[in-house]
Subunit: 271 residues, 2 copies
């Protein structure tokens, strides 16, 4: 009996077409309101680096710029090492449709060596995932059903009444649904799982779009694969919303309290 | 009597050489231990976008990847608009020496429109700049003398004795020295002014280098030009230091308490 491949693995599947070029296709399971969930686009671009035969080491930093709406359909990812050093490598990645750039990215891959370790980012004290109810209600878009989402605080407003929540802090448990072992691609996607801070701050579903998103990875592939938990705890907040652009900063911890990634975004919003 | 041009303006001066290509030169006044201060390199790359005749709007996001040591001498910056939309524009920028990429960057420029504004990032309560003594001692590198640096807390360790500071938080006032009106370039440079968190955390001057740096701008050019204060208040901390790579996250406020920029880095460090 064959096991069906996880939708996430289907979504990030790329066909090598030579010289750093990879062909992929958007996946209906990760559809957003317009085009795909940004996290899956980020994962697809990182995956091109991951699959590149000249890759040195593992991802430590990724910045994805969402240049235009990705149309449902095929796309071409081009991953190019612009500089390869002894222990670090710098990548420039584009995702194109009909030869136009719809997303661009830079990534750093590196050989790590064991050094001092310090984690200043303590995991927030929250109830365990099995004690927190999953987000209720029918999902307005497909990708939300690909995640088990359990907000501990700062969840989606119950009433879209324009009231001011007072702050932009959210904290919750997130997991691939169905479960899937963590890797860099899925961790990158999870970094985009938070609903927009401006929705929380104003209880108003204004049009938004992530413009640029950065992920710093704080674990190795082996450490991610060895991670025993199903959920990550995510926390996010905004510093500033100003004249159409807001930032978001966040962190993801393993169930055991290890900070696996920190992530930052610049988002466009309308009033 | 002519007034000498500020060293910062000399350092970011670029000669247009057609088709998004700009020629520049490193400046001795911003020299670091090896090559120039990363902040000045970031400013030079942003300046190429700023000077580009096809630029739409003003910078909202910038990510600079430091691919290799910049050698003292001439360089060529190439700024390319990879996508231009109605109100946003996406840039890919390279800085080359001897035709090799030594730094790469992406930037977003955008037309802002007046919308709701919210600032969740309150400025830390600290004494005013004139009540805080400037950093004392002879600067080991030139660029430090280009700034008036007044740490309120988390300053450079007095003793490099390997003791654990307990956390990686720093907060202080920073200004161009001599004074210079704020603009996007100088704000980008100021985002790199913090000494490495790993030095603070371990009171040990281990070799470090910024690998990737992101800046989100939360003000317009006009708002920066109108800023009456000489100093910005900067706060920075690290979430994780793990096996050779550490992150840093920070924010800069005007003297009046407005958050002008948030900034994030991934740094390489040796033990």
């Amino acid at each position: 009996m064959s096991q069906a491949r996880h939708a996430f693995d289907q979504a990030i599947a790329l066909q090598a077409a030579g010289d750093g070029v990879f062909e992929g296709h958007t996946h209906a399971a990760y559809a957003n309101m317009v085009g795909p969930f940004g996290g899956i686009t980020a994962a697809q671009m990182l995956q091109a680096v991951w699959l590149h035969p000249e890759r040195l080491g593992e991802p430590t930093a990724l910045t994805v710029n969402f240049c235009a709406a990705v149309a449902d359909g095929p796309f071409v990812v081009h991953a190019q090492a612009v500089r390869t050093n002894r222990s670090t490598q710098h990548w420039f990645v584009t995702l194109r449709q009909d030869d136009a750039v719809v997303a661009s990215a830079t990534a750093v891959t590196a050989l790590r060596r064991a050094t001092l370790r310090a984690q200043d980012a303590g995991m927030p004290q929250v109830p365990q995932p099995d004690q927190v109810p999953p987000m209720a209600g029918k999902s307005p878009v497909a990708w939300i059903d690909r995640y088990d989402i359990r907000y501990v605080r700062g969840g989606l407003p119950r009433e879209w009444d324009g009231s001011d929540a007072g702050d932009s802090q959210s904290c919750g448990w997130f997991a691939d649904e169905p479960a899937r072992p963590l890797d860099f691609a899925s961790l990158a996607a999870l970094c985009d799982v938070f609903f927009p801070r401006v929705w929380l701050r104003r209880a108003q579903r204004v049009p938004i779009g992530t413009v640029s998103m950065t992920v710093y990875f704080h674990a190795t592939a082996q450490e991610l694969a060895d991670n025993p938990g199903r959920f990550v705890l995510g926390q996010a907040h905004s510093h500033v919303m100003h004249d159409g652009f807001a930032d978001q900063t966040g962190a993801l911890w393993s169930e055991a309290g290890r900070c696996l990634a920190t992530t930052h975004q610049s988002l466009y919003y309308k009033e």
